[in-house]
Symmetry: C2
Subunit: 336 residues, 2 copies
């Protein structure tokens, strides 16, 4: 790396004090410095390719106008879409977003938190992976403002913006039952992540409150890493039961994509033989003959709200805001 140009280098070249250079480049004491001198200093700074040491400056004004965002898996459409929304919102408010992806790995998550903390971001927006409660708890003790989004840990009292996953799943399954389905199944991730467990809880409640005897084999859980084969197997098993499932709630859009592509190879008809609902949008299923009914999270509102709560907290980190948003069931052709 080339040697960084310092205030002192500029001062020497112009023949003034380092303090004076600092005043000019930080726009201070403007009335008290001669215009020609200020201009000469600015020109020299430009000429020497001087780059403001934002970090040194931030130690004084205590703000870097940068926020860190840690998503669960940047390759997933939910994460990358949300990243874009948060970035657009932060940009409007003159904040720059730098992000990292934990790839659903708690260790990588910890490394990213450290990376951002040592780079003096003003705050963090985080979708924590499984088994990261302790790290979120420690982060809370550090005092840096942060907001969890999509996922939160009920055991740690922090800012978060999440979906009411229980109600969203409940409404979706209830809708299929009201449409005549007798044996609704769910295919979801095998995880302790609270927001995913809430989806299963909503599914189970809908069965119970509709007087349907729940069958253990209607709940299929697949590993969150490389789930394609497990999803196909799960669908196959659900359709091979003595009394086959007649409705499936897919617990995420990624699961739905693999599931529906597999169903497309089978000689059954959606929704006559099988009703389908996907949690989250599934643009990549738009060419399926029966457009898929889905649970729509208010992603824009969630991303914007998360960003605004964080920026509100920066500088006056004195309250905890927790928001559970309601989903909308977008009814299309895959349900009766």
């Amino acid at each position: 790396m080339n040697k960084r140009v310092s205030l002192k280098d500029i001062a020497q070249k112009v023949g003034v004090s380092t303090a004076l250079v600092s005043y000019v480049l930080n726009n201070k004491k403007e009335g008290r410095i001669k215009k020609e001198v200020a201009q000469k200093i600015r020109e020299t700074a430009k000429e020497l390719n001087y780059r403001t040491n934002l970090l040194a400056r931030s130690l004084k004004i205590n703000k870097t106008y940068t926020i860190g965002l840690i998503v669960a898996d940047i390759a997933s459409p939910f994460s990358s879409g949300m990243a874009r929304i948060i970035e657009d919102e932060a940009d409007k408010l003159n904040y720059t977003v730098i992000f990292g992806s934990s790839d659903e790995n708690a260790q990588k998550f910890g490394k990213l938190v450290d990376t951002f903390l040592t780079r003096q971001v003003d705050g963090l927006i985080i979708a924590p992976p499984e088994n990261a409660e302790n790290q979120v708890f420690r982060l809370r003790q550090q005092g840096l403002p942060f907001v969890l989004f999509d996922r939160y840990c009920p055991s740690v009292n922090t800012n978060y913006v999440a979906l009411d996953n229980y109600t969203a799943a409940y409404n979706a399954v209830k809708y299929m039952i009201d449409g005549g389905c007798k044996r609704p199944a769910i295919v979801t991730y095998d995880t302790t992540l609270f927001h995913m467990q809430e989806r299963v809880r909503g599914y189970s409640a809908a069965l119970k409150l509709s007087g349907i005897d729940a069958n253990k084999s209607w709940i299929k859980k697949v590993n969150i890493i490389n789930p394609k084969a497990a999803i196909e197997k799960a669908v196959q098993e659900l359709l091979s039961l003595d009394e086959p499932a007649d409705a499936i709630l897919f617990g995420s859009n990624s699961i739905a994509v693999h599931g529906v592509k597999y169903i497309n190879t089978l000689p059954l008809k959606v929704p006559k033989d099988l009703a389908i609902i996907s949690f989250d949008e599934t643009e990549s299923l738009d060419l399926f003959y029966a457009s898929i009914t889905y649970i729509k999270q208010p992603m824009h509102e969630m991303g914007q709200l998360t960003t605004r709560i964080l920026l509100d907290c920066i500088g006056k980190n004195n309250k905890v805001t927790q928001v559970n948003m309601q989903a909308e069931l977008v009814i299309r052709a895959s349900t009766r």
Copy 2:
């Protein structure tokens, strides 16, 4: 923000010198410090929640083990997929990646470059947006190692890993012509980005070398921001010519998705009435009745190579590596 715990705080608590604390926490002079003292210092550091100031440390060892990645649009599958590949590769080599998205905006790009530079990354991986040549040129003068990927500026002599877009497009169009297509069209972005211009140049060369009189109205260019309506209009115009186009090369997977979804609403048959090739994979078209032939970029190799070239350069930034990789044409049902 809470006050950061310093080496001095730890030294005072333990009752030793700040230098000794520094030696222990930086694993120096190990043989010369009493084990009990070292242990006490480590415990106190943990107790006080001391966080290594990586930045201060990096000023000495001149490495932060962090690289910055600036993609073109994090919401696009190419960018987010590539981000994941680069991150996995960097992780293997103990580097953490933090990224930003320029959203195809040169000003935002400049802001991100500044953000990363002032945060002392060891190097940058960059897909520059349109009109960012000057910023890439300035970056070159700064001396920080960086590698361009996907896109490069022929006017600036830098490391890059890109596709041979000319040959890729040439081969694809030649394949359609050899299959009997007489009037091949291209729908691509209206941009000065070199890699996109190369695709058009490859298209034109295939026509010329096959003895087909090129028709200006076969080349359709759409804005890179929100192109959906423009893509539908372009396809409509191509199919409404006195002699309609009988083959279309879509210049990116995003363009192909909108184009094919529109074509799916028309009463024509692919590939009999119209052959289709997409530049880049289009998983979200898997449910289209004719699976789409596509130009496959070696994304994994490109991401891995880009990362390795950057890490090679860090610390010994003394050579320029430029790689043009070859694409593969994956032939499926949408071409004859």
